[in-house]
């Protein structure tokens, strides 16, 4: 079992707070460290700040205060160009897949390469041959090479999420942020997507930060779990440590375990 204290931190979140316009606090003074290669599950109720936390890490959401240091680089202080170079090494997988429906699967996957290609060429839809080959390779890896030229919205939910994973893999990511990647999928599909993330985590030694709803998925895949409640860190430890009392602390007194 790997926890934050046993290894040097690769990613370090320090006193992170985010207050949205209108004064709604989403995160309050969240701090934790993640060692390289860890599969970290983030749990908590809807609206507890999981999505905001993940989006602060690649600065899709601008933190109000605090610091995020990744491999010695202060992400929160990065300039616009530096942010782009950081983002291209961080793959992101979304609950609603966030594919461009009217584009082909191949184009959606190639979009993962946009941070690397020269903007002027990509604007006319020109990608290097190596990138196209890599896109086919990643589609092969997630098991849908035959769908490359289908329109994205012709695919089923599970297939769409595989495209989402392939798009993240195109980035040659050193970290993957997964925002409830399986919440829109049935349990069988959920496991197959989680297995891809596990594979990437184990084989490529990519750090995975994954927010999850179901505790059995946390137990099955995560090395470690952190829990948020109303924007505050309320738990940090091994998934096995979440006993009845801790469960009530994370999800509230009225909550019942479902899985």
């Amino acid at each position: 079992m790997r926890t934050g204290t046993s290894q040097p931190a690769m990613l370090s979140i320090r006193h992170l707070s985010k207050t949205y316009e209108g004064g709604v606090p989403a995160l309050t003074d969240v701090s934790f460290d993640v060692p390289d290669g860890q599969f970290l599950a983030i749990i908590g109720l809807s609206g507890s700040g999981k999505s905001t936390l993940l989006r602060c890490i690649n600065r899709l959401v601008e933190p109000t205060s605090g610091q995020i240091v990744w491999d010695g680089v202060d992400i929160t202080a990065a300039s616009r160009d530096e942010t782009r170079r950081i983002r291209r090494q961080i793959g992101m997988v979304f609950q609603h897949f966030n594919l461009v429906h009217r584009s082909s699967v191949l184009t959606n996957v190639l979009a993962g390469r946009l941070g690397y290609v020269t903007p002027a060429w990509s604007l006319v839809n020109h990608f290097p041959k190596a990138d196209v080959a890599k896109a086919m390779h990643e589609l092969n890896r997630v098991g849908i090479p035959d769908k490359a030229h289908s329109r994205a919205d012709e695919l089923s939910g599970g297939q769409q999420q595989r495209v989402g994973v392939a798009r993240a893999l195109m980035q040659d990511p050193r970290m993957i942020l997964a925002d409830e990647p399986v919440a829109s999928l049935d349990p069988v599909l959920a496991h197959s997507i989680m297995q891809y993330l596990e594979l990437i985590n184990r084989e490529d030694n990519v750090m995975v930060l994954c927010s999850l709803h179901f505790l059995d998925l946390v137990h099955r895949y995560a090395d470690r779990a952190i829990a948020l409640n109303e924007g505050r860190l309320v738990f940090d430890g091994a998934p096995q440590e979440i006993d009845h009392a801790r469960f009530k602390a994370i999800y509230g007194q009225d909550a019942e375990r479902v899985g």
Binding site: S79, I90, H96, H101, A111, L114, D131, Q171
Partner: protein, 616 residues
């Protein structure tokens, strides 16, 4: 919860008061409404009496009958006449009555009369329904029209005519004549004109829509809140960009002059032009391949980056030169083709015009492009410089820059006003605008604060929206009046006015569509490290294509309607012909144009519905 009697007792009078007040408000509202409509009737001169008067109704019937007979086909006409003798005044002895012979025949009742007397002309044996005129023919042989006639089903008619005021001892003639169509029908001059103009109209709409859409698409991104709201920066950065834009535009104008001068040196021979143009464009392509490698995983050294920037600059200049030459060549080849092709000369003319348009666009692109490059360079420079300043110096830095930017804008505005109103007083055109601009800039900078979250994007968004709204408030029918003064009355003025209005209308509709797209793909593409422009191309454009196509079709439909009437204000097309004919009272000719408009608009309606159905 039950109310205590005391509570309800307190509320009852206030409720009654409230209902009284409401009744009073209704009464005032109704009275006000009556007043408004009464006044409206007065100012719009609503008058049923006028509409009911017989003379008005007669005119209406005449116009309706003319409209029902559009001037489209004509026949060769053959005149048939019948005549009889008349004496004014009656002679002492009237020659014996000869019964009219042959068909048709004409007789008078009576056969003679005093000058100015009214008599009756009776015709027989005319083709039923034939209509023509009854003339009085004095000895000089000139026909004086007296009355119209229309033969009844038996081929007979009887109309009153008036004898001339002048007496004459000689025998004179009354003549009834009608025209008969013979031979095959053929299209009238008016039909040909209508065809020409309706074709012109459809193409005016097509070009207006095309040009307008080309401008509206990029503008719509600037006018979309969801794309612009995330663009933020420091006040100082914005000020730098504002100041750099006019400088860059000036620089761009100089670059454009140099490119024109350079192209003038080689345009003496078309062959040399072709060689130089293709050579320079080839060099540009090579340079671009070198300076913009398709993918890089590591950041290259500063020296390589500097070399690339220089190479790109040279390539842009060379590319501009090559493009100008290509445009010139297009014009030249087009002119040559126009002479060679004969009937298809319009293709050559099109090529030549396209060359001219390309040159125009290149000029605008050079000025705009250099302005944008200079602005973004100075913005980047500012963004690099500012964090190195000590925190205490950042606010003064921002404020100084925003005051300077305000002064620059003030000076530009002053120069514009001086030009518009021909002012010469330096205090009014230079000192005051600069001072006011600086103060306003300073105040705005002060208000905006010191953070780097100044909403630059929203400023651009609001500016674009305002321009679009003002532009849309002016109807194309009014725009064309101004444009026609500039480029002359004709279809080109119509095209420009339609384009301008299309930009405004589509810019708004497009941007509203952009605002409704799914944000998920935008987020996902941004998360890959894409630039804003890449994000627009990969996440926004695919989402908006169907609606943009559909809206453009719809706009073409509207533009066809507009272009049918834009001629009334000097914009060419069928409206021009229609207004002429209507003003001259040629209602049968006007009817043909109205018919053509109805046909084309209906056809466009179906076509655009069909194509929109296909596109989505």
């Amino acid at each position: 919860m039950a109310k205590t009697p005391n509570e309800s007792g307190d509320r009852a009078p206030s409720r009654r008061l409230a209902s009284l007040g409401r009744g009073l408000i209704y009464a005032v509202a109704v009275a006000g409404g009556i007043l408004i409509y009464a006044y409206g009737f007065q100012v719009t001169q609503v008058s049923l009496e006028e509409a009911r008067s017989p003379s008005r109704q007669e005119r209406l019937v005449r116009i309706l009958r003319a409209l029902a007979e559009p001037d489209l086909v004509e026949y060769d006409e053959q005149e048939t006449t019948a005549e009889t003798s008349v004496w004014v005044p009656c002679p002492k002895t009237l020659p014996a009555f000869e019964p009219p012979s042959g068909t048709p025949s004409l007789s008078l009742e009576p056969r003679c009369g005093a000058p100015g007397e009214r008599i009756t002309a009776v015709g027989n044996g005319f083709p039923p329904g034939a209509d023509g005129r009854v003339y009085f023919v004095p000895p000089n042989g000139i026909r004086l029209s007296q009355a119209e006639f229309r033969a009844d089903t038996d081929g007979a008619f009887s109309v009153p005519i008036q004898l001339p005021e002048r007496a004459s001892p000689e025998v004179q003639t009354v003549l009834a004549a009608f025209q008969r169509n013979v031979g095959a029908p053929r299209l009238t001059r008016n039909a040909y004109d209508t065809w020409d103009k309706i074709v012109e109209t459809v193409f005016m709409a097509l070009l207006g829509t095309t040009f307008g859409t080309m401008v509206a698409v990029p503008l719509s991104f600037l006018a979309a809140r969801n794309l612009m709201k995330d663009i933020t920066g420091t006040v100082g950065g914005l000020a730098l960009i504002v100041m750099a834009l006019p400088v860059g535009a000036l620089l761009g104008a100089i670059v454009w002059r140099v490119a024109l001068a350079g192209s003038a040196a080689v345009t003496s021979s078309p062959f040399a032009t072709a060689v130089v143009a293709s050579a320079s464009l080839a060099v540009v392509a090579r340079t671009l391949r070198w300076a913009m490698p398709s993918e890089e995983t590591s950041t290259p050294s500063l020296r390589i980056r500097a070399a690339r920037i220089v190479a790109l600059l040279v390539a842009s200049l060379l590319g501009l030169l090559g493009s100008v030459l290509a445009a010139r060549l297009m014009s030249y080849v087009g002119d040559q083709l126009a002479e060679l092709l004969g009937l298809a000369a319009f293709i050559g003319t099109f090529l030549a015009d396209l060359g001219d348009v390309l040159e125009l666009i290149l000029g605008a692109a050079a000025v705009g492009g250099v302005a944008v490059v200079v602005a973004s360079l100075s913005g980047t420079l500012g963004a690099r410089l500012r964090p190195r300043l000590p925190p205490s110096a950042r606010r003064p830095y921002d404020l100084t820059l925003s005051a300077l930017a305000g002064a620059v804008l003030g000076l530009l505005l002053g120069a514009f006003l001086a030009w518009l109103y021909r002012l010469v007083d330096v205090r009014v055109t230079v000192v005051a605008p600069a001072a006011v601009g600086a103060v306003v800039g300073l105040l705005l900078g002060w208000r905006a604060g010191t953070g780097d979250t100044f909403p630059i994007g929203l400023v651009v968004y609001n500016l674009t929206r305002t321009v679009l709204n003002v532009l849309r408030a002016v109807e194309p029918l009014i725009m064309v009046i101004v444009v026609a003064v500039w480029v002359g009355i004709g279809p080109f003025a119509g095209v420009l006015a339609l384009s301008l209005h299309t930009v405004a209308a589509l810019g708004k509709l497009f941007s509203e569509d952009v605002e409704t797209i799914q944000s998920g793909p935008l987020e996902a593409v941004t998360a890959t490290g894409a630039t804003r422009l890449q994000m627009i191309v990969y996440a926004v454009v695919p989402q908006i294509v169907p609606t943009y196509v559909s809206l453009t079709m719809y706009r073409w439909d509207i533009n066809v309607r507009l272009s049918t009437i834009i001629g009334f204000a000097g914009g060419g097309g069928i409206g021009f012909l229609l207004s002429q004919n209507a003003n001259l009272g040629n209602y049968r000719a006007a009817s043909a144009q109205i018919l053509a408009i109805a046909l084309v608009v209906t056809a466009m309606d179906y076509l655009s519905t069909y194509l929109r159905g296909k596109a989505v």
